[in-house]
Amino acid sequence: MQQLLDGFATALTPTHLLFAAIGVLLGTAIGVLPGIGPAMAVALLLPITYGMEPTGAFIMFAGIYYGGMFGGSTTSILLNTPGESAAVVTAIEGNPMARKGRGPQALAAAAIGHFTGGIIGTILIVLLAPFVAKHAVDIGAPDFFAIMVLAFIAVTSVLGSSRIRGVASLLIGLTIGLVGLDQLTGQQRLTFGSLHLADGIDVVVVAVALFAVGEALWVAAHLRRKAFEPIPVGRPWLSRSDLKRTWKPWLRGPVIGFPFGAIPAGGAEIPTFLSYVTEKRLSKHKDEFGKGAIEGVAGPESTASASAAGTLVTMLTLGLPTTAVAAVMLAAFQQYGIQPGPLLFQRESELVWALIASLFIGLTLLLVLNLPLAPLWAKLLRIPRPYLYAGILFFASVGAYAVQADVFDLLVMFVIGLLGLGMRRYGLPVLPAIIGVILGPSAELQMRRALQLSDGSLTGLVNTPFSIVVYVIILMILLFPLIKRVAGRKTPPTPLPEPEKVDA
């Protein structure tokens, strides 16, 4: 505790506060740019910190990191173009909210969610770092795979009104996820010999293509050509009923996000999706989901931020980068001759605690700077529709092109965008496709890795206590409706005439 206070003393000097503020602003500004996620933001800004002393540099990084993540959510909400993979889920509810004139509320829910998730996550770093360091490495391939199975079960709740069309969409996503070199054997799959496809198609590209490009084309086909009516900008702040609906999702986020961030290969995509599904299940406003339910923004954003905090635990205590951003930060540490790992807390304790203290400060600055900006940002949507959609297409194209300077990426985006148009026309929900792209490759990888570790024995999938627990939970979820029926209570009025089982 004393060390943390010392950390605050270091981080609260005017210079360091200034660094943190610059970091947050730069991070948000760059995170808003298309195609540049937090990892790239940190990497691109790395040169600025050359010649700075390490403490100041890392305080600035923490600001850039959180700012970059928040910038990604901003475009997700306003333009339906997620800036990074952790913000993909946010677009699902955030963008409809913005379209209804509830943009400021969506942005505020995201900003406060970010703040809450980050603060709780950082508190957990302080309290749990040694514990996490010890147990994070116990989670292995079978455990991951069990979680993936659980996630696939959860997909059933986002399939939409027509199951068969939902499953079709999921399969389209899984197909896109197959593209690229097989990670375990290096065999080419659906690459058609093209080097451009060897790394697969990035989930952000798929999300932007399906969400933004697909939507722009669909709007073009049925543009409402009535007198132009700007999107109303309603009251700027969260109302009492909004707060009532969001405080629980904000607090639940870290429960899902933090552990995922802390375990190797956890990342933010899967926990944000799980958070979304959880909030949908628990919400009293289920009918609003898909049309702009504020819980669907608050929960995933808090989860994403807490997962980022979890990432830092494993990086600092084990020297283990679990996400691309962490890998870049690790490289930055090494530039200063500092090796994160089990000895870091002893050797560089002053720096570490200053960094942790600056996380608190960075998050607070992020909230303070961005909350007042939310209504201003939301005014962006008042521009005329032709400019709005032209801007979205422009933005999406720059994002796809800038990263690799390759026209091929634009064509991939176009083709997937056309697919998105077709899916909208024929009532195939877009969300399952994205989930397929996220879950498919990692589920396959973890399953095959588990089987390889056990040298082909199927027991390799269920040989850890954790995985067994997860499978028991899955069984309970699957059997629950049955038990309910057998118990003779009134049968739930959910007639589902579709005969297919959804266990893709």
């Binding site: 989670i139 290096g186 870091l344 040298d455």
Partner: protein, 328 residues
Amino acid sequence: MQVKTWLAVAGALLAVLLVPPLLTPGADSGSTTQVRSLRVLVPNAPGGGYDITARTAAKAMEDAGLLRNTEVFNLPGAGGTVGLGRTVSERGNGKLVMSMGLGVVGSVYTNKSPSSLLDTTPIAKLIEEPDIVVVGKDSPYKTLGDLVTAWKANPGAVPVGGGSSPGGPDHLAAMLTAKAAGLTPKTVNYIPFDGGGELLASVLGGKVAFGVSGVGEYRDQIQAGTLRVLAVTGGKRIDGIDAPTLSESGVDVEFTNWRGVVAPPGISTADRDKLVDLFTALHKTPQWEEALRRNGWTDAFAPGEQFGSFLEEENKRVATVLKDLGLA
């Protein structure tokens, strides 16, 4: 109205045509012996190994006054072969180099890349990093001998983890070690992880029997005693790590992961000499020495021709291993 439209279009056209070039510092075309501007292509994402090498070298060159203007840019994809393709297509461009390493050699085969490193003009090998054979502290294997005995008895039950995909440095190191120990590479149960970090977790958690990876990310864990190094794969022991080389332990093979720079094919001899001289000069600067020390890299400088023949040998060696595995 009409006039206004034309004015607007003309203004727009002028803006898009003139503003970017006017506000961008131009590439100069002086013909002095000194290289004044250089573009460095990095074939993986910002923060990756080739990226750090390139940016560190560029900075050292600028600090030492060897170059005025370097631009490092990333063109990631397909294990570096997308960047390689671009380099090869820039035939004759004497102001471009690509940062690369052993990983790209393997990727050429696994990605079935149409362009090969042998097409490029080798400029210099810069650094190398030996791999280590490493186990968790609770592992039953105390020496490399223990491990090899168990490995030979039942290769399938001894899963090997590596931080690179098939064809990458860790994969090659594991396979070369297996071959030298008398195992058929095809029987090796190699499990690729996404970088040394993710592998580290599996080694610490005892999920894989042992790991093969670069020493960089592991130093701290080794010092803390949570990891045990059974052998280093290079020809020499590593300072600060108490482990024999593979050859000393009776497995006769030497392997290091290295990084260097190549230039596009077909550049003039003068351009090539300028570039080789530039990197030779870089090698002698105190800034570069300092960078080596800070990043824990081993100096392995080899200029032009020397690097070229080294590259050819490595290419052959990689091809042989990958052919055994059905990957090339």
